[in-house]
């Protein structure tokens, strides 16, 4: 019930975002020089920012960019984690130890430091799209160790299950066993890992963006919009600057409720 409600709310949000993008006359990067820091009006329903860009269009675009990027990154992370977890669980103890040591190595640093380091090392001339892709790729590349450990534990428990031993005895190869038996069993473990990663990545991007290390301008992102809150002159004029953060919290709450429901089911 809770999950259905969350799904409906998320779909409604996405639908509203898509409508705003389709119906608006403006592009997310279009600067209306006659309406700089304009309040809400018929042309700009939620006003404009300090360079005259439509806020509603930018928030809607940020919603799509954030969700798409985070979902893609979460899928990559879950895939890497699954590969690592399976390899560690189905190989010799020595290889498993080496693989777990690698995951420990990445876990030994708080990931904001790793993210900052990796993200800041991009060339200064990188385009906004490149920075967006790289930001989410870095998130994907650094987010897998905790998931890999969980999947490793799950796969390890299944490796010694009776039906696995029966499968081995029947002559099934390891790949067949993984595809036919292990993956269906681990689906309940992989899906929560994937869903956990989405809000975590959205939040990480927002934090990175607020530090000036996220998606590059003029591409809209949650992080870049949080930076707008620093502009006290604009805040004195309109409270609509809080719109991105309010929407971000709503999106994260919806995603969190999804995650908790799936975890309970698992």
């Amino acid at each position: 019930m809770k999950m259905r409600l969350s799904a409906v709310l998320l779909l409604l949000l996405l639908f509203a975002g898509a409508l705003a993008l389709l119906l608006s006359r403006y592009d997310y990067a279009f600067q209306d020089r006659d309406a700089i820091m304009a309040p809400s009006s018929a042309q700009h329903w939620t006003g404009t920012d300090e360079v005259g860009r439509d806020r509603l269009v930018r928030v809607s675009a940020a919603l799509f960019i954030g969700l798409t990027g985070a979902s893609a990154a979460a899928a990559i992370t879950t895939l890497i984690a699954a590969l690592f977890g399976f390899m560690a669980a189905f190989s010799t103890q020595c290889i498993a130890n080496i693989l777990l040591f690698v995951s420990d190595l990445i876990l030994s640093l708080p990931w904001i430091f790793l993210l900052m380091m990796a993200r800041s090392m991009l060339p200064l001339t990188a385009s906004p799209l490149e920075t967006a892709v790289m930001t989410f790729l870095i998130l994907a590349a650094l987010g897998w160790p905790a998931c890999a450990r969980t999947i490793y534990r799950g796969a390890l428990a299944l490796r010694s299950a009776e039906w696995m031993i029966h499968g081995y005895a029947s002559g099934l190869k390891t790949l067949q066993l993984i595809r036919l038996h292990l993956l269906p069993h681990l689906r309940s473990l992989l899906l929560p890992q994937f869903l956990i990663c989405i809000p975590a990545f959205i939040m990480a991007e927002a934090n990175l963006g607020a530090l000036g290390l996220g998606v590059g301008e003029p591409l809209p992102s949650w992080g870049a919009m949080l930076m707008e809150l620093d502009n006290s002159a604009q805040l004195a004029q309109t409270r609509l600057l809080y719109l991105p953060i309010a929407l971000l919290v709503v999106v994260l709450l919806i995603l969190e409720s999804f995650t908790s429901e799936v975890k309970t089911d698992a």
């Binding site: 420990d104 876990l107 030994s108 800041s120 060339p123 530090l211 805040l235």
Partner: protein, 285 residues
């Protein structure tokens, strides 16, 4: 396996992790696509030929061997090398800031846990406590650290300590609540309740002693959460701590500072990990 052996093995593993963390940081930074990016690249007055020359010169000066040698020399001397942006020894920079960050960290963890315990204890004792009771903490979990810090500044409420405490409280509340709910349902506690023991006595004599070990383990893991939140909080509130130094080093590509801060963080996280697993190890022994 003897206790001494376990400690030696854990220490050896931690040292190995530190070594690889340092090597990994150097490799990551050196082979990042933007390592040779120079602000002069964006300056139109430099012709293509001059820019190529600048890049070749940087390539000569920044071979991996040279960087590694410089780092090792700095560590041998105990100053962790010279900061590129401030031109002072890195150890000096870190020493001046580590106290500020450590104080913020300790106070944040203390107040965060106090808040989480004060909220989780009565809520866990309720027989029909729905998810609405934990709503403030769920809401806090959905707010990025940077956003919470910015809101605090705009509303002129609290400071870095409040933000850090709220973030830690939000993170730990759920775990603490489920831990305490489990403790309230244990048979000896139900027996105590049936005997008419007052709630205060139940909490002091049965609940808290039972969950102390798990709480200590969770508390040490809060250090990792707090370290992650430290950077945006220190940057937004302009607290002169290690987090702000790391951010400034990242923005200015200051490799010696980056490596030293990474090592410091790896040390703290490693220590927290070792402390959190201590009770299990002792039980195993």
């Amino acid at each position: 396996m003897s206790l001494l052996m376990i400690i030696a093995m854990r220490a050896g593993r931690s040292l190995l992790l530190l070594f690889f963390a340092a090597a990994g940081t150097i490799l990551l930074v050196r082979f990042a696509p933007g390592f040779f990016s120079d602000s002069r690249e964006l300056d139109a007055k430099y012709a293509q030929a001059v820019q190529t020359e600048i890049q070749e010169e940087m390539l000569r000066q920044h071979s991996l061997r040279q960087i590694a040698m410089l780092q090792v020399k700095g560590w041998m001397k105990g100053d962790f090398g010279q900061s590129r942006q401030y031109n002072v020894p890195v150890a000096e920079l870190i020493a001046a800031r580590v106290r500020v960050s450590a104080l913020l960290l300790v106070k944040g963890i203390f107040f965060g846990w106090l808040l989480a315990v004060c909220a989780a204890l009565p809520i866990s004792a309720l027989r029909r406590a729905g998810p609405l009771w934990g709503l403030p903490f769920t809401l806090l979990l959905a707010v990025p650290a940077a956003a919470l810090a910015t809101i605090c500044i705009l509303a002129d409420i609290g400071g870095p300590l409040l933000v850090l405490s709220l973030l830690i409280a939000a993170r730990e509340f759920k775990l603490l609540r489920s831990l305490l709910e489990g403790a309230w349902c244990s048979p000896h506690l139900l027996h105590g309740r049936a005997q008419g023991l007052p709630t205060c006595a139940l909490v002091a004599l049965h609940i808290l002693p039972n969950v102390t070990v798990q709480m200590c383990a969770l508390m040490t893991l809060s250090i990792v959460t707090a370290l992650g939140a430290l950077v945006p909080i220190e940057v937004i509130f302009t607290v002169p701590g290690v987090g702000q130094l790391a951010w400034s080093a990242v923005m200015n590509r200051d490799l010696p500072v980056l490596v030293a801060v990474s090592l410091l963080m790896a040390c703290v996280v490693g220590l927290a990990g070792m402390l959190s697993t201590r009770p299990i190890t002792m039980e195993a022994v």
